[in-house]
């Protein structure tokens, strides 16, 4: 399982802004990986390229043993005409019903399953949205700030759940929370300004499977590496 970006260059249409200048990076193997970088460096753009939602760039994005790529972001909404429970049920394959219940429990949104999307808090909205993506067929799921507005403890619990329930899948997590990324992610792509070469640096995260089993010194070391890379 591998996604490899080779020599990607891209400029937004009708602007002089070059986002990527011969960018190369890769993520190998299933697990929870991260795409990290300051705002405006093109994390979402790169994610959409990998998800085949954005074209018009030069270079190549190659994938091995990854056929279904899904991209989700934190601005997505459910239609307003039914409860989120009904809408989730309508897009969940028959075989995924047990998994739906497990995810709803793990994500802590049982109490709002009969509510309309507009009645949910921002954190609940993001969790509900993530659940419906997790119930689809995918090999790689790109989560663009998908846990924004969720408290830190719940975020950690959700990431551990994902790693436990989907060990054979690949996740690419976009977040600005450096500690969370350092703690839970396996490979961390640090995206840098297009003036810097190479434009990405790869850092190994602590890839924890239990939220509290970590050595602070090692975590600090990883965070320091991320800071230096960016």
């Amino acid at each position: 399982m591998q996604i490899e970006c080779q020599d990607i260059s891209y400029q937004y249409p009708q602007t002089d802004t070059r986002v990527f200048d011969h960018l190369s990076c890769q993520v190998t193997g299933p697990g929870f990986h991260a795409l990290f970088g300051q705002s405006g460096l093109g994390k979402t753009t790169l994610a959409r390229m990998i998800a085949r939602e954005l074209t018009g760039y030069s270079g190549q994005i190659q994938s091995r043993h990854i056929s279904e790529v899904l991209y989700t972001h934190n601005m997505e909404r459910f239609p307003g005409w039914a409860s989120i429970g009904d809408l989730m049920a309508s897009t969940t394959p028959a075989s995924g019903q047990d998994r739906l219940n497990a995810l709803v429990d793990a994500f802590g949104i049982q109490s709002v399953m009969n509510a309309r999307f507009s009645q949910l808090s921002l954190g609940q909205k993001n969790r509900a949205n993530l659940i419906r993506y997790l119930l689809q067929e995918f090999d790689l799921l790109i989560m663009d700030e998908s846990l924004a507005n969720v408290d830190e403890t719940t975020r950690g619990r959700i990431i551990i759940t994902l790693k436990t329930l989907f060990p054979e899948k690949c996740f690419l997590y976009i977040s600005h929370n450096m500690m969370e990324i350092a703690k839970f992610c396996n490979q961390i792509i640090v995206l840098r300004s297009p003036h810097k070469h190479p434009q990405t640096q790869m850092i190994s995260g602590r890839n924890l499977l239990h939220e509290n089993f970590f050595v602070m010194k090692e975590l600090e070391q990883t965070m320091l590496e991320i800071v230096h890379a960016s």
């Binding site: 939602e53 899904l70 989700t72 997505e76 909404r77 239609p79 307003g80 897009t91 949205n129 689809q136």
Partner: protein, 248 residues
């Protein structure tokens, strides 16, 4: 809602009437040009019941024409919302035809179809259909990315779901546009009757014009205003019910 709308109309109507009488007395115009209040009142009493039937005749054609326009606008709008060549063709055709004043085309319709019910209906439909179509196309062709993304990404999107999402998200705009186009349906019917029909309040206005009887015209205008207010209030009420049901 009805009470307020009719109150507002009556206020505007009587302000207009007062201005007319003011002009009459300031310029010392004869009763032949602008009749006095007594004559207006007497004419109103004499023709009121007949005009009520005439305006109802006009109103039902306007309502029917409006319904046909809405159905047509949605059917064509659903096809025209797409970025395909057929969508572009429909949009271009709608913009071009919209540019033609239907009032100028109306005599052709009368020559071809005579001055019966179908002709009045057709002109009413034509006058309110094209603006309605352009609004519907505009609303239905605007993607709601934040909702549609999931269905597109998971290959669940179809035209019915797309239309449903876009219509639901723009329900306020759609109900406003539909209510707004009701006045155009009424105008269209009156224009048709005014040009060549032999029934309806537009026909009564034309007859009054030939008789140079401003009192009759003022009575007709009053009844047109009241009936339009009633229809608009009904539409707004339906729009509110739909919006409430959508939010429930």
């Amino acid at each position: 809602m009805l009470h307020r709308r009719i109150q507002q109309f009556v206020l505007v109507y009587f302000l207009g009437l007062l201005s007319l009488l003011l002009v009459k007395y300031l310029l010392n115009l004869s009763d032949y040009v602008i009749p006095g209040p007594v004559e207006i009142w007497q004419t109103c009493k004499a023709v009121f019941s007949r005009y009520v039937f005439n305006v109802l005749d006009t109103l039902w054609i306007a309502v029917l024409g409006h319904i046909i326009s809405i159905v047509l606008a949605f059917l064509v709008g659903i096809v025209g919302r797409r970025n395909s060549w057929i969508g572009s063709l429909i949009k271009a055709a709608a913009y071009n035809i919209q540019a033609y004043p239907i009032v100028a085309v109306a005599p052709i319709i009368f020559i071809l179809l005579g001055d019966g019910l179908i002709t009045r209906l057709l002109i009413a439909v034509l006058i309110c259909y094209f603006p309605l179509l352009l609004s519907v196309i505009g609303i239905l062709s605007e993607p709601v990315d934040s909702i549609e993304h999931f269905y597109v990404a998971t290959k669940r999107m179809n035209w019915r779901l797309q239309v449903r999402i876009r219509a639901y998200e723009n329900i306020n705009k759609l109900t406003t546009v539909i209510a707004g186009s009701a006045t155009m349906a009424m105008v269209g019917t009156i224009v048709a009757e005014f040009i060549a029909a032999d029934a309806g309040i537009g026909y009564s206005i034309r007859t009054a014009l030939y008789q140079s009887d401003l009192s009759k015209i003022l009575t007709a205008l009053f009844l047109i205003g009241i009936s339009t207010s009633l229809y608009l209030t009904g539409l707004e009420w339906m729009g509110n019910v739909i919006q409430r049901k959508c939010r429930a």
